[in-house]
């Protein structure tokens, strides 16, 4: 039987080896979480929770009737074993029964996020999917050059809602219109049909995850042109002064100090 000293040495050695292995492993895992541009199936919960919950079973991929979903294999440059879209190749066809989300065992795809009201088959609404947001590169989009092209607009399953064509004057010719496509984030599901349809060599309209494609304005601005937005002023805290260490002093003292 080992004595206590030997036991402690062995235990320490075990912990040391485990720490070495654990740190290498930890470094690897840290790198695995940084894939910001991956496009998840409809109903996906936010990316951090998705990565935790997804068991990499591929049932969503198998359920996709258009074989649009891909399960990331090592070397794909996506989190391994998780589902993603490549819109230029195979966009989401927005099935009404959303088979990918409905089959997900651990709930990484949550049908509640793509349902009207209570989660359930009757209430499924694929239009609520937010796979991503289509973004247009106006410098390479030929419609913005003044050439007539409405491929993305025609391909959009939410035509006239998610993509509209807004005519503006073509200053170059002075007598034509530019019929430029415009994406509206309140309707765009990020299905990617536009990216697939785009005629330029590399798509000039493409889907990015919303957290990357969208900015966020601060809520301190009141949009006076929007009915009711002014009401937010009533809820605003009364004390809105910025407090810094200097706030305690009076302005006159401050301006009259010699070391200004």
């Amino acid at each position: 039987m080992k004595n206590r000293r030997q036991f402690l040495i062995d235990a320490g050695r075990g912990i040391g080896i485990a720490a070495v292995g654990g740190l290498v492993w930890a470094g690897f895992l840290q790198g695995k979480k940084a894939y910001p541009t991956v496009l998840r199936p409809p109903g996906a919960v936010d990316e951090a929770r998705f990565l935790a919950a997804c068991t990499k079973c591929g049932l969503c991929v198998a359920a996709c009737p258009y074989q649009a979903l891909v399960l990331a294999a090592p070397g794909d440059g996506r989190p391994v074993g998780t589902p993603y879209f490549v819109m230029r190749d195979r966009p989401c066809r927005m099935c009404r029964d959303i088979p990918c989300a409905a089959i997900c065992p651990p709930g990484a795809l949550d049908t509640g996020l793509v349902s009207d009201g209570e989660a359930g088959k009757a209430g499924l609404n694929i239009n609520k999917a937010r796979i991503g947001l289509a973004v247009i590169d106006r410098e390479t989009c030929i419609a913005y050059w003044g050439i007539q092209c409405d491929a993305c607009y025609r391909a959009c399953p939410m035509i006239d809602k998610a993509i509209t064509v807004d005519p503006v004057r073509n200053d170059r010719t002075g007598k034509h219109a530019i019929l430029g496509p415009v994406v509206h984030s309140d309707h765009c599901t990020g299905c990617g049909m536009c990216e697939r349809a785009c005629v330029t060599k590399k798509a000039s309209i493409f889907v990015l995850p919303r957290r990357i494609a969208m900015g966020e304005s601060s809520d301190r601005y009141i949009r006076g042109w929007e009915a009711g937005d002014e009401k937010r002023l009533e809820e605003a805290p009364k004390d809105t002064t910025t407090v810094t260490p200097r706030s305690g002093k009076s302005p006159t003292d401050y301006l009259n100090r010699e070391d200004l």
Binding site: A26, F28, L29, T55, C57, V61, L71, A73, G81, G107
Partner: protein
């Protein structure tokens, strides 16, 4: 060449392992409803959920709530192995077993030879602990991201990509670094089933009367530490580390090993119950 009866369980295990994987492939490629998904979680006959209980344990270590469907699936699988089959997942289902058995055969074919590294078989329990700690730390199921088991079964069903490198690494590790290195020393999934399967009903049972002490069972066992009773006393193999692969049974020329139930032989030596 071994006679067919000397590899009868090996053949049967291959059929089960390849059969299960084939059903998954058919489920993905042609929509067969027998088994869909993969070994991480799946649907049996389109309705019964099945899930890897160790993967779900890691997911819960991240603090993520899992839907009831997956929990039920993990419960069914856990119950099957814990109550009935023991660590049989490793010997009968896991596709990496095909690779490591091949590695074992390959290294014996060239005379075995000494390998440079000795490693404790308890390392796997450390890896098991680490997977849970790292899952909690990073908020992602830690082992599922590096698992050669996942790389292989996902690869076969959904496309291998660079996953073959992990599988090749396991093979080479077993051949050149540690005998039974991956399955017997490192894999936390095996460690999980070793712990979960300790009290299962189906066991290999040894009878001393027929035993001639030829030791072929111990030589061919991938976890030889589970066979302390051979030639010494009657008894069931009670260690959870036994994969119920049946290797000892098929190589025994004397019929001293067989599959039985743990209740058939009373436990005489309490030390045997220990891991």
């Amino acid at each position: 060449m071994p006679g067919i009866s000397e590899i009868r369980y090996r053949i049967l295990r291959r059929l089960v392992q390849v059969g299960v994987l084939s059903l998954f492939v058919a489920g993905n490629a042609w929509g067969w409803k027998v088994l869909q998904g993969n070994l991480s979680s799946s649907l049996l006959f389109g309705t019964v959920p099945l899930a890897d209980p160790f993967a779900l344990l890691q997911v819960s270590a991240t603090g993520t709530m899992t839907a009831a469907k997956a929990l039920l699936g993990a419960g069914i699988v856990l119950f099957f192995f814990a109550a009935l089959a023991g660590r049989a997942f490793c010997g009968w289902i896991c596709p990496v077993n095909i690779v490591t058995d091949l590695a074992d055969t390959a290294s014996s074919a060239v005379g075995g030879g000494s390998r440079p590294l000795r490693m404790s078989r308890n390392a796997r329990y450390w890896v098991l602990g680490l997977s849970l700690i790292l899952s909690a730390w990073f908020g992602i199921a830690a082992f599922e991201w590096i698992s050669p088991v996942g790389a292989l079964h996902r690869g076969v069903v959904f496309g291998m990509g660079m996953g073959w490198t992990a599988v090749a690494a396991v093979f080479l590790f077993d051949v050149f670094v540690v005998k039974n290195g991956f399955c017997g020393h490192l894999c936390p999934l095996g460690a999980f089933y070793s712990l979960a399967g300790r009290w299962s009903l189906v066991r290999v049972v040894h009878s001393k009367e027929q035993c001639t002490n030829c030791m072929r069972c111990i030589e061919s066992c991938p976890e030889p530490q589970v066979l302390p009773m051979v030639g010494k006393r009657d008894g069931a193999v009670l260690s959870g580390e036994c994969t119920n692969c049946g290797r000892c049974i098929e190589v025994c020329p004397d019929g001293a090993m067989r599959f039985g139930l743990r209740t058939q032989v009373s436990v005489k030596d309490p030390k045997e119950v220990a891991l």
